[in-house]
C-alpha cells in the first residue's frame, strides 16, 4: 500500500515525463517532415522507397481483386467490335502476298460502350466499317455505324438489343491522380480489362475537344480504349493528341455521341481555304509576324468573298496559331450557322473580315467537275479539282475504262457518269500509282457522294 504523497509525486513525475515525451517527439516529427517534404521537391527517385509495407500482400493482388470486383459492374455494357480497314486495300497479286506473307490484314478490334439498349459508342475513323461483333453470331447480331464525328473520331453505333446498365461518367477534373484505372480494350477474344497506373498530371487544352484532356505519358494503351475507375465510373476514351496518347473525358464523349443522334453525318466546318506555314521569308515579304498564310481559296467556299491568297490570318475570334493543322482542326470543331471575325494582314495592312461559318458544301456529282483532261491513247486524266468535287477519284488518276468504253475521252466519261444506274453507282477502271484498280463512283443525282 503506497502512501498518498509519494504516489502523487510519482504520478506527477510520470505525467511530466509523458508531456515531455510528446513534446520532444512532436518536435522531431516536425523537423523530419520539413526535411522529408520540403517546399522544393527532392531529386526524383524513380524507384520505390526503400521500406515498403512489411508483411503486406503484393499490390498486384489487391488490384486483381479490384478488377474482379469492377468487372461485373461494367462488363454488361462492353462489346468488342471487329473493324475492317478504313481504306479499301490496294490491289494485290501473288507476288505481293508472297513478298509479305505475314502482313496484317488490317482488321482491328475495338472496344465499344453500350449507351442504350441498341446503341453504343466507340472510337472509329470516318471510313471505318464494322465487320462484326466478337462472340456474335452474325445476322441479327451485326453492328453498324450510324454516325461518326470526323474531327474527334467518335462513332455512334447500332448494336443488337440487350439490357444496359446506367453509366456514370467521372469528370476528369475530379479524377485524383496518381491512381490506378481500368483500361478496356478490344481483342480477338472479346474485351479485356487491365489496370493501368495514371501518374500525377495536369490536364491540357485541346483544339478538338471542348474540355481539357489528361495526358497518358508513355503508356502502352491502344487508342480508342475505354477507361473506367475502380468503382466502375466511365472516365473517358484514349485519343491521340499531337501524336501522344491522352484521355478525352467521358462527358465530352457522351455529349458528342448524343449530338450525333440528332444529325446524320455532321460535316466539319470548312471555310474553303488551304493554308501554309508562315516561314521567315514569307513573314518578311508579307510584313506579318505570326499566323498562317492563305494559299488557296475555293471559289464557292464560305471565305471566297472575304479572303484572298497571300492573306496572312493572324487571329480568329481572339484565338491565334502558327500551325496550319491546328488552325484547320479548330475551325472544323466550330458550330455551323455562326460567323467568325478574322484578323488578317493583306499587302502589309492589317484588317478585319467577317466570314459566315457554314458546313462543308454539299458534294456535287463528280460528273460536274471540270477536272478531266484527255490522255490520248490511254484514257482520261483526273485533274487537281477532283478532290474538291467530292468524287472517289484522286488527282492524277487515269481512267482507262468507263463501262464498255476503253480509253474514254473526257466527254465520254462525263456522259457515262451522268447516266443513272439502278444502284446509283458506276464502276470505272483507273490507273493509280502504276497499278490498275476498280473504282466505284456515285452517278449524277445521288446524294451520298462518298466513294466506296
Amino acid at each position: 500500500m503506497t502512501n498518498g504523497p509519494s504516489r502523487q509525486a510519482r504520478v506527477s513525475r510520470e505525467s511530466r515525463l509523458l508531456l515531455l515525451t510528446v513534446a520532444v517527439c512532436a518536435a522531431v516529427l516536425l523537423l523530419l517532415a520539413r526535411l522529408r517534404f520540403p517546399d522544393a521537391p527532392l531529386a526524383v527517385d524513380t524507384a520505390a522507397p526503400p521500406l515498403e509495407r512489411l508483411a503486406a500482400r503484393a499490390s498486384y493482388d489487391a488490384l486483381a481483386a479490384d478488377i474482379q470486383r469492377v468487372e461485373p459492374m461494367i462488363a454488361p455494357n462492353l462489346i468488342a467490335l471487329r473493324v475492317a480497314p478504313e481504306l479499301p486495300p490496294a490491289p494485290l497479286d501473288l507476288r505481293d502476298v508472297l513478298a509479305r506473307p505475314d502482313a496484317p490484314s488490317g482488321v482491328r478490334h475495338v472496344a465499344a460502350l453500350r449507351i442504350s439498349r441498341d446503341t453504343a459508342l466507340a472510337s472509329l475513323d470516318p471510313g471505318a466499317r464494322i465487320d462484326g461483333i466478337v462472340g456474335g453470331t452474325g445476322g441479327a447480331d451485326r453492328a453498324a455505324v450510324l454516325a461518326v464525328d470526323p474531327v474527334r473520331r467518335i462513332a455512334r453505333i447500332r448494336v443488337p438489343d440487350a439490357p444496359v446498365r446506367e453509366i456514370a461518367p467521372l469528370p476528369l477534373a475530379s479524377l485524383q491522380t496518381p491512381v490506378y484505372v481500368v483500361v478496356v480494350e478490344g481483342t480477338q477474344a472479346g474485351v479485356t480489362l487491365r489496370p493501368v497506373f495514371l501518374g500525377r498530371g495536369d490536364r491540357f487544352d485541346s483544339v478538338r475537344w471542348t474540355r481539357p484532356l489528361l495526358p497518358l505519358g508513355g503508356m502502352a494503351v491502344t487508342p480508342g480504349a475505354l477507361l473506367f475507375s475502380l468503382e466502375g465510373e466511365f472516365i473517358g476514351t484514349v485519343v491521340v493528341e499531337d501524336g501522344a496518347p491522352a484521355i478525352a473525358g467521358g462527358r465530352d464523349v457522351l455529349d458528342i455521341v448524343g449530338s450525333l443522334a440528332s444529325s446524320t453525318r455532321p460535316a466539319p466546318l470548312d471555310l474553303g481555304v488551304a493554308v501554309q506555314p508562315l516561314t521567315p521569308a514569307l513573314a518578311a515579304a508579307l510584313a506579318a509576324e505570326r499566323g498562317v498564310v492563305v494559299s488557296e481559296v475555293a471559289p464557292g467556299g464560305a471565305a471566297a468573298a472575304a479572303l484572298e491568297p497571300a492573306d496572312v490570318i493572324t487571329d480568329v475570334d481572339g484565338w491565334s496559331t502558327d500551325n496550319p493543322h491546328e488552325f484547320l482542326l479548330r475551325l472544323a470543331s466550330r458550330q455551323a450557322g455562326t460567323s467568325a471575325t478574322i484578323a488578317i494582314v493583306r499587302n502589309g495592312e492589317p484588317r478585319t473580315v467577317t466570314v459566315p461559318l457554314e458546313a462543308a458544301p454539299a458534294e456535287g456529282s463528280p460528273g460536274d467537275s471540270d477536272a478531266f483532261t484527255s490522255e490520248r491513247g490511254v484514257g482520261t486524266r483526273v485533274g487537281p479539282d477532283a478532290r474538291a468535287s467530292g468524287s472517289g477519284f484522286r488527282p492524277g488518276d487515269v481512267i482507262t475504262r468507263a463501262g464498255a468504253t476503253a480509253a474514254p475521252t473526257p466527254a465520254e466519261v462525263r456522259r457515262f457518269l451522268a447516266t443513272p444506274t439502278p444502284t446509283g453507282w458506276a464502276t470505272l477502271m483507273v490507273r493509280r500509282d502504276g497499278r490498275q484498280r476498280v473504282v466505284a463512283v456515285p452517278v449524277a443525282g445521288r446524294s451520298d457522294a462518298a466513294a466506296r
Binding site: V11, V22, C25, L29, L32, L51, R57
Partner: protein
C-alpha cells in the same frame, strides 16, 4: 474428446457449405475468419499438449486448409484473411514494447549489442561471400560478374540473414514467458531488425547504382530518417496518449488497446511509417515512462491479442507456398542449413565473450531462426526493383521463409522451456 468432436463438426460444416455454394455466393471474410478462429485455436491447443508452440498449430491449420491441400480456405479467402495483417503487426509490436523494460535491459545491453553486431555482421558477411562465389551454380538468374554480382550477393545475403520480430514476440507472448532470455531475445531481434533494414536499404542503393542507370539518391538518408525515426516519434506520441488514457480514464481498456492498434495500422502506412517500429515505440513509452498499475492492461492484452494472433498466423500458414518449396526446395534447404550453422556458430563464439555467459545468451540463437513477413516484404521490393534475378531471389526467400516459420517457433519455445521462463506471467 468434446473438442475433437467440435472440430470435426466445424470441418464438416465448412466443407458442406462450400459444396452447397450458391450462384450469388456473397464473398465474405466471415466464413474463413470464423473457421480459422475455432479450428486454428483447437489445433494450437493440441500442439501445446505435445509441447509445441500454439503458433505451430495455427500455422499447421493454415497449411492443411490452404489452397495446396484441402483448399477449404481458397486463395481469395486467404487474401481476405490478410486484412488483419497490419492490425496484428501493431498489436504484436505493441506487446513487445510493453515487455521491454529499459531499466532491466541495461544489464544486458552489452550482450545485446555484442550478439546483434557479431551475429548480424558475421552472418551477413559470410553469406555474401558464399553467395558471391556460388552464384553461377545457384538458380538465381544471371547478374554477370564484378560489382553487380557483389551487389546481388549483398542484397540476397541481407534477405537471408533477416530475423522476424513478429514470430518471436508472438511465441513469447502466447507462452506467457517472462525472464532474462525472453527480454534478451526480444531486444536482439528488434534491434537486429532495425539495423538490417538500414543495411538492406544501403545495399539496395548500391545495387541500383551498379545495375541500373538510376543516379544515387541523395535523399535516401532523409527518407530513411523519416521512415525510421519518424515511425518511432509517431509511435511514442500515440503511446504517451494511451498511457495518459490508462491513467486518467482507465476503463474499457481492451477497446482502447484495439483502437490504438487500429490507429497505428491505418495511419502509419499512409505517411510511410513502419507499423512495427511505431507500435514498438508506443509500447516502450507506456512501459517505461508511465507503467500502468494493476493487471487490467495485461488482461486486456490477453483478451484482445489471442484472436488476432490466431488469424494472423493461420493466414500466414495459408499463404505458405508449397509449390515453391517443391521447385527450389533443395537450394532453400542448403541456404537454410548455412544460415542455421552460421547463427549457431557465431553465437557460440560470442558467448565466450559475453558478460552473462550462462543460459540466456547461450540459448539466444534459438530465437533467431524464425523468418516471416519482414523478409517477404523486403524480397518483394527486390523483385520489383530487379525484375530478372530479383524475382528468382524472391522465390528462394519465399521457400526459406516457409521453412523458418515452421521450425523457428519450435526452437524458440524449446529454448524458453529450457530457461524455465514459460507461464511466468
Amino acid at each position: 474428446m468434446a473438442r475433437a468432436a467440435a472440430l470435426l463438426l466445424i470441418l464438416a460444416t465448412v466443407m458442406g457449405v462450400q459444396r452447397a455454394g450458391s450462384p450469388v455466393a456473397t464473398s465474405t471474410v466471415t466464413l474463413p475468419l470464423g473457421f480459422a478462429l475455432i479450428a486454428a485455436y483447437l489445433l494450437g491447443a493440441a500442439a501445446e499438449r505435445v509441447r509445441l508452440p500454439r503458433l505451430s498449430g495455427y500455422l499447421l491449420f493454415g497449411l492443411l486448409c490452404g489452397p495446396f491441400l484441402l483448399n477449404l480456405i481458397t486463395s481469395s479467402m486467404a487474401r481476405d484473411l490478410q486484412v488483419v495483417n497490419g492490425f496484428a503487426l501493431a498489436l504484436i509490436a505493441l506487446v513487445a514494447g510493453l515487455e521491454l523494460n529499459v531499466g532491466r535491459l541495461r544489464t544486458y545491453l552489452r550482450d545485446v549489442l555484442l550478439v546483434v553486431g557479431t551475429v548480424m555482421v558475421g552472418t551477413w558477411g559470410v553469406l555474401t561471400v558464399v553467395l558471391w562465389l556460388a552464384w553461377p551454380w545457384l538458380p538465381l538468374g544471371d547478374v554477370g560478374g564484378g560489382l553487380p554480382r557483389l551487389a546481388a550477393a549483398l542484397i540476397t545475403a541481407a534477405l537471408v540473414t533477416s530475423f522476424s520480430p513478429t514470430v518471436t514476440i508472438a511465441v513469447i507472448a502466447e507462452s506467457r514467458s517472462r525472464g532474462p532470455l525472453s527480454e534478451l531475445i526480444m531486444a536482439v531481434v528488434v534491434m537486429a531488425d532495425l539495423l538490417l533494414i538500414l543495411g538492406f536499404a544501403l545495399a539496395l542503393q548500391f545495387g541500383r547504382s551498379t545495375m541500373s542507370s538510376v543516379p544515387t539518391d541523395v535523399g535516401l538518408g532523409v527518407q530513411l530518417s523519416w521512415e525510421i525515426f519518424g515511425s518511432l516519434a509517431f509511435g511514442a506520441i500515440v503511446g504517451a496518449a494511451f498511457a495518459a488514457y490508462l491513467r486518467v480514464v482507465g476503463r474499457e481498456i481492451t477497446l482502447a488497446l484495439l483502437a490504438v492498434c487500429a490507429l497505428l495500422a491505418v495511419v502509419a502506412p499512409l505517411v510511410h511509417f513502419e507499423i512495427i517500429l511505431a507500435a514498438l515505440a508506443a509500447g516502450l513509452v507506456v512501459e517505461n515512462v508511465a507503467p500502468p498499475e494493476g493487471d487490467n492492461l495485461r488482461i486486456a492484452i490477453e483478451r484482445g491479442a489471442l484472436p488476432v494472433l490466431i488469424v494472423f498466423f493461420a493466414a500466414a500458414g495459408v499463404s505458405l507456398q508449397l509449390d515453391v518449396l517443391a521447385v527450389v526446395g533443395p537450394t532453400a534447404l542448403l541456404v537454410a542449413a548455412a544460415r542455421f550453422a552460421l547463427i549457431r556458430g557465431i553465437t557460440a563464439w560470442v558467448v565466450r565473450g559475453a558478460a552473462h555467459a550462462e543460459t540466456p545468451v547461450r540459448l539466444v540463437w534459438m530465437g533467431l531462426i524464425s523468418q516471416a513477413g519482414v523478409t517477404l516484404g523486403l524480397a518483394t521490393i527486390v523483385a520489383t526493383e530487379f525484375p530478372g534475378w530479383g524475382a528468382q531471389v524472391r522465390t528462394l526467400i519465399v521457400a526459406l521463409t516457409g521453412l523458418h516459420i515452421l521450425i523457428g517457433p519450435i526452437l524458440l519455445k524449446a529454448a524458453l522451456q529450457r530457461a524455465g521462463e514459460i507461464n511466468k506471467i
